[in-house]
Amino acid sequence: MFYRGGIFMSENCRRLETIMVQGSREKEDIKGAISTPIYQSATFKHHGLNESTGYDYSRSENPTREELENTIAKLEGGKAGFAFSTGMAAIDAVIRLFIPKDHIIVSEDLYGGTYRLFEEIYRRYGIETTYVDTTDIKKVEESIKKNTKAIFIETPSNPMMRITDISKITSLAKAFKILTIVDNTFLSPYFQRPLLLGADIVIHSGTKFLGGHNDTLAGIIVANKFIEEIKFMQVSTGAVLSPFDSWLILRGIKTLAIRLEKQQKNAIKISKWLSECKRVKKVYYPGLKAHKGYDISVKQTTGFGSMISFEVNEREIIEKSLKKFQTIYFAESLGGVESLITYPYIQTHASIPEDIRNRIGIKDTLLRLSVGIENVKDLIEDLDRSLNL
């Protein structure tokens, strides 16, 4: 894997877009089907005793899921991929790698569901966590303790779009012999490939950009380390992605590049429009030169993505505008072809205690916008109509 002219190259010089469309090409379908068959089979016939075809039971391995797992592994430049029923199930499987009294440093600004998993489930089992602003490498280093086993980051973070320098984190982690885990949901491998920057494990909510159509829940892990352990976890706790949903994600990945290009183009225009909107106090988008993490973004990614957060002047505007949006749907989630607006304070980040939300900046005046592939003029008109009532 290497960089060339701002784009990521892959093995055999198949570029990312080509892998997205063609898949892993590790096993050709004998009937020549261009689209991977959906193996809706729970179990597989053995030719005889000890004569497994390599597939026994779909929880352990399923040919459709396997193609997705191999494809995403190639896209992320990792050794092995794993598909789970949801992003949370994928994160859960990674946390289960650790044992009681292990300590994990976590980006303080992260998805509410991940926070809930750490705090309300794994705390009971004795997994310790410290929430840190991981954009500040000094703070991360100061938080490392004897029992620290991993650094878990989201970059760009959700919803404040903070940019963490992945290479700095992975160098630090390597020096202390701890793992780096990156949630790459917001950018997808098309724009960011953390494993090439030294991370050990990448996680995705495949529901978002990879699936891209707001129709499938899915989670992905790509790993360079602990491959056997993650496989064991997947088989044992069984939170696997179904064959049909695996196929939908494969189908989504085929258009990942063109969707993201269009979504990003729209997002850049919208972020500029929002920056000039009188009702908007602040815009958080890594593609704006004024954004705090702009330089790091340029260095470590090939794009800024299509997620924008912005603060309005007062809470009242939010209540009124959320009733007004017509083109943009008011719904949780992100990354799909449809533009969605979310109110993190009461939706995605409701599980996070108020004091932490305030410290991070998840105020009651903050909105998060996932920009879709609609005509950008319609989106800006909708924003204009709803914000400037």
Binding site: S85, D92, P100, L117, L241
Partner: protein
């Protein structure tokens, strides 16, 4: 209402908007909110999906519990239920539990300091002896896999009640048609719905039914947080499978009894395990808590060589793991379902290398018998 009718009419079979006789497959990850002040019932499919909800309500009604939950596999269902417990808690698990459950309790939950003791659940004295101050749950399978041992639910539940212990029953082998543990006082029922409920060997899935609000809330919380939910397409396939649960099982059970009776007459066969045979230990007890012997049986051949030859020669039946489908499946527990259990432990459980498990499908029984006859002979 008769169970067979309830499968078709339980309040979750018609789409209220269009009247469609099949619940639509809501392949949506997220839901638009029309009003910021009054959020709709659904916001994100991990938390709630209309197709999944129809399935969850249906299984809750069929098992006569208060709430139902659908998971991406039987193991995800079991792991999620066990995740309601915390470090320092102790769980009793029946000794000949499914290999996957053995693996998850003896690896993850052990690692996170949830202690497990494996007990012979057919022995009430042993259960009483093993209960400690921190014992929070007992996990049962009856009939057990693969030896079809019968546990006295009423007796175990009585002991559990006195000690404030949650009773969890894996009801996969019987399905809600033949056995309803919640009616006998159990708190939680789990299913690998991949088996009889789906019934077509095509969907990997798990279901949980819970009695009581407090426990329901805990399982709901884990389902939403851990997120091992079942996809809408697969939920719909299970709803479809459930409609024929009774007619399938009636036939499969009849076939199993015929095959069991035939097997015990064969000189190559040393022993037949089937709760529908009156000589099977616990058969009377079983029929007092279930409506039939089910469609799974096991048998031991006179020696290991015969078992291996049988597995090589059998043609009509598929050699595969899993059970409960319309196809007859034979499996070899020592190498397949119980491969995760160490050999010594396996043998102490009575799972010999001459043991074969059969799940009867919908083929003509005479054809299966002919196939078996040929596979057993030299």
């Amino acid at each position: 209402m008769d169970f067979g009718t309830k499968l078709i009419h339980n309040g979750n079979e018609i789409d209220k908007t269009t009247g469609a006789l099949s619940i639509p497959i809501y392949h949506a990850s997220t839901f638009h909110q029309f009003d910021i002040d009054n959020f709709g019932k659904y916001d994100y499919s991990r938390s709630g999906n209309p197709t999944r909800e129809a399935l969850e309500n249906t299984i809750a009604a069929l098992e006569e519990g208060d709430s139902g939950f659908a998971f991406s596999s039987g193991m995800a269902a079991i792991s999620s239920v066990l995740s309601i417990f915390s470090a320092g808690d102790h769980i009793l698990v029946c000794r000949d539990v499914y290999g996957g459950t053995y693996r998850v309790t003896s690896s993850f939950f052990k690692k996170f300091n949830v202690e497990t003791t494996f007990i012979d659940a057919t022995n009430i004295g042993e259960i009483k002896e093993r209960i400690k101050n921190n014992t929070k749950a007992i996990f049962l399978e009856s009939p057990s896999n693969p030896l079809l041992k019968i546990t006295d639910f009423r007796a175990v539940i009585e002991v559990a009640r006195k000690n404030n212990i949650v009773v969890i029953v894996d009801n996969t082998f019987m399905s809600p048609y033949l056995q309803n543990p919640i009616k006998l006082g159990a708190d939680v029922v789990v299913h690998s719905a991949t088996k009889f409920i789906g019934g077509h060997s095509d969907v990997i899935s798990g279901l949980v039914v819970v009695k009581g609000k407090e426990l329901s809330d805990k399982v709901k919380f884990v389902q939403n947080s851990f997120g091992a939910v079942l996809g809408p397409q697969d939920c719909w396939l299970l709803l479809r499978g459930l409609k024929t649960l009774k007619v399938r099982l009636d036939y499969q059970q009849k076939s199993a009894l015929k095959l069991a009776k035939w097997l015990r007459e064969q000189e190559e066969v040393a022993k037949v395990y089937y709760p529908g045979l009156l000589e099977h230990p616990g058969s009377e007890l079983h029929l007092s808590q279930a409506k039939g012997g089910g469609a799974v049986l096991s048998f031991e051949t006179k020696d290991d060589e015969t078992a291996k030859r049988f597995m090589r020669k059998v043609k009509l039946a598929a050699v595969a793991v899993s059970l409960g489908g319309v196809e007859t499946i034979v499996s070899y527990p020592a190498k397949m379902s119980h491969a995760a259990v160490p050999k010594e432990e396996r043998e102490s459980l009575g799972i010999k290398d001459s043991l074969i498990r059969v799940s009867l499908g919908l083929e003509e029984t005479e054809d299966i018998i002919k196939d078996f006859k040929n596979a057993l002979s030299i």
